[in-house]
């Protein structure tokens, strides 16, 4: 039986974990823009925090990516 394709299917399913990361990043950006619009003087401070938050939020997406790579190559 051909099982080679199942690896690719598994990798595709694993990478679905990126959905949560994407939603989270969208919410971070939306709220950061809200904050900037309300308080433009603090925008540089908010921007730095937003980039840091986005990078932290990416973590789950990166975990999903690492699992997908493990499925594909090992």
């Amino acid at each position: 039986m051909e099982t080679e394709g199942l690896k690719y299917l598994a990798a595709g399913i694993a990478v679905l974990g990126g959905i949560g990361s994407g939603i989270g990043e969208g919410r971070i950006c939306a709220h950061a823009i809200d904050g900037m619009a309300r308080n433009p003087e603090a925008s540089s401070n908010i921007r730095n925090t937003m980039i840091l938050g986005c990078a932290l939020d990416e973590t789950t997406g990166i975990y999903a990516f690492v699992i997908a790579i493990l499925c594909l190559f090992i």
Partner: protein, 254 residues
């Protein structure tokens, strides 16, 4: 197996491969710079204002020192050296990836080593500050939680390592796919040229912008995140560093 002609078969091996050599090159560059900085600052006249190289280094160091002080508290000023070395090493690894050398962080050995240093430092700090009470955290709130606590102890190491590794590797894989397919496209268009010359023409125009994002921007952000997390986790272990005191001090300075 070989997907899209990417050579990732050695990715999880432990051997003296290209990435390890590039990591050693990065360390050598940092060592040479350190010696150069030492000699520049020894010859410098402290009464005159800085200019050129000395000023750049001093500005960088002072801004980092300010960040360390505001994140970790004033008594952790001595950590600036470690944080500086860590940040420079990570950003240099990403920059060496642009030059055409393999990025050391795409080999799991390198991020794991850096992560282990931070991990050991966190726990050493905790033991130093809490003495025997350190072992209490594994049985809190109840002794039943011991196995869960023993597993969750490794979470910072896993998180900090895989974040760096995944970011570097995803950039590397996307860039490899781009190079491969742009080479094919160029071969299709410039196929009339002699062999070896037909696949070189499109990638140099398009790929620098992706390098800019995946290596420089992403690398810089990951460096900042790694350094920030290291500082926050280490300073968290100190029980007497209260937040109110810090805020009061900041208000006083402002």
């Amino acid at each position: 197996m070989n997907l899209l002609a990417l050579d990732t078969s050695h990715m999880f091996d432990v051997d003296f491969s290209g990435e390890v050599i590039v990591s050693l090159i990065a360390m050598l560059i940092i060592c040479l710079f350190s010696v150069a900085i030492y000699f520049v600052f020894r010859k410098k006249d402290p009464t005159k204002p800085d200019h050129g190289f000395a000023m750049a280094i001093e500005t960088l160091f002072e801004s980092l020192q300010k960040t360390v002080k505001s994140t970790m508290g004033n008594k952790y000023e001595g950590f600036t050296g470690y944080v500086f070395a860590l940040g420079v090493y990570i950003i240099l690894c990403f920059i060496l990836g642009i030059v055409g050398l393999p990025n050391p962080l795409t080999n799991l050995t390198c991020p794991l080593s850096i992560g282990l240093i931070t991990f050991v430092m966190i726990h050493a700090k905790a033991i130093k500050h809490n003495k025997w009470k350190y072992y209490k955290r594994y049985t809190s709130p109840l002794a039943v939680f011991l196995p869960i606590n023993l597993i969750s102890m490794w979470a910072p190491l896993l998180s900090i390592t895989l974040r760096l590794f995944g970011n570097a590797l995803s950039g590397y894989i996307v860039m490899s796919i781009l190079y491969y397919y742009l080479g094919l496209l160029s071969t299709a268009i410039f196929g009339f040229l002699p062999a070896g010359w037909s696949s070189l023409w499109i990638a140099p125009i398009i790929n620098p912008w992706f390098h800019l994002y995946f290596d420089l921007f992403s690398g810089f952000i990951q460096t900042v995140v790694f350094v920030m997390l290291t500082m926050i986790w280490i300073s968290q272990e100190d029980p007497d560093e209260s937040i109110e005191e810090d805020v009061a001090l900041k208000r006083e300075l402002a």
